[in-house]
């Protein structure tokens, strides 16, 4: 009489058992990886903007200080997106009829805001405060990357909670001299561990338990 199953089924059966377990694991890791991938974090993805504003040009080439446009960075939770007026201060004279600046001029004319696409985005339940970070010596480029080399701004880091925690657990690694905060090219010296520690002490940086308490960022 004939067998119900062909010999090959032996192998198939055993193999499929293993691969099932294996695939399940693979799928899980896949999801976890996806959650950290640029697809979700939008890391390193620059967006189409109404005006293709180049930080490379303004910061890198013209050497304009961050605070010239992001005026509230030292006083407020938000660095501040400059009003059209700020653009016009210069561009009513410079490139004052360049075609690609038309949206700016139009905004100024019609008193309707330019709608920029938001690039750096935190959950609304996370309350990040720019002013405290800069005044304690965390440089712009620490989080925003080398903005002076970005023709179109993009998010240089993941902005995932895990990433925030890394720094809140060990701020010493990134603290700079206060006069270097807005320096895009600042590189951590070899003795960063030491000077970082000194800065932390003299600026009374809060302890890790304080910095990693939930209400430090969530309200």
């Amino acid at each position: 009489m004939a067998q119900i199953f062909h010999r090959s089924t032996n192998f198939i059966a055993r193999f499929s058992l293993f691969s099932a377990i294996f695939l399940a694991g693979l799928a899980l890791t896949g999801i976890l990886a996806l959650a950290r991938s640029p697809y979700f974090t939008r890391q390193n993805i620059s967006r189409e903007q109404p005006v293709q504003f180049s930080h490379k040009h303004h910061v890198g080439d013209d050497g304009i200080d961050c605070r010239f446009c992001h005026t509230s960075v030292e006083n407020s939770a938000t660095a501040g997106i400059p009003p059209t007026k700020t653009c016009m201060n210069c561009h009513s004279v410079l490139f004052n009829n360049a075609g690609y600046l038309e949206p700016v001029r139009e905004s100024f004319r019609t008193d309707q805001s330019i709608q920029w696409v938001k690039v750096h985005r935190l959950g609304d339940f996370a309350y990040f405060n720019h002013s405290i970070h800069v005044s304690k010596g965390v440089g712009c480029s620490t989080c925003h990357g080398a903005v002076n080399q970005m023709p179109l701004i993009f998010q240089a880091n993941t902005l995932l909670m895990q990433w925030c925690l890394d720094c809140h657990r060990n701020p010493e690694a990134v603290l700079r001299p206060l006069d270097q905060v807005y320096n895009m090219d600042w590189k951590a010296p070899d003795d960063q561990a030491k000077i970082g520690h000194d800065f932390a002490v003299e600026r009374k940086i809060r302890s890790t338990v304080e910095l990693t308490s939930c209400s430090t960022c969530h309200r």
């Binding site: 009489m1 067998q3 119900i4 090959s8 089924t9 032996n10 338990v209």
Partner: protein, 189 residues
Amino acid sequence: MNEPRQTLYGVIGEFDSPNALMAAARKVREAGYEHFDSFAPFPIPGLSEAMGLHYGLKGWKHNLVPQLTLLGGVGGGLTGFFFQYWVNVMAYPLNIAGRPLNSWPAFIPVTFELTVLGASTFAVFGMLALNKLPQPHCPLFTVPRFKRATNDGFFLCIEATDKKFSLSDATKFLEGIGAKFVTEVRDED
């Protein structure tokens, strides 16, 4: 009927009661056969001994299941506890209700559950693996009467891989110890 590419698997005979099968198994072993196996619709007490299969440390060759289970249990338990320890004391220490970071009594339930989980999965899958299951295809299934092995039939098969196996001897021997319907088993494709 002639099957050119058929390989010999062994010789199988049938017995009419558990006790007969047990006696037969003992005889086959005493006759010095090693690669043989007996088949019954339910576990027959004493058959293992009759076939020279042992339990415990002595029988690890035949039965590694207990050792595997122990391994699984210990593994699960340790993982369980130290994972919790790592989470609460190292990964993200938080003040929860003023309880100690390492509130080990609170970690016991999970530790215990993982111990049991590890042990039982190892027991089951270990058993299957050692039995080389799943094996939906087996030459014995070609023997028509072998269906009764899962109903009310008691079989004994001497396998061709045994070094002192020869088709004629084995057949004679089986008939000699009272086996009925002695047939050779051939693996067909």
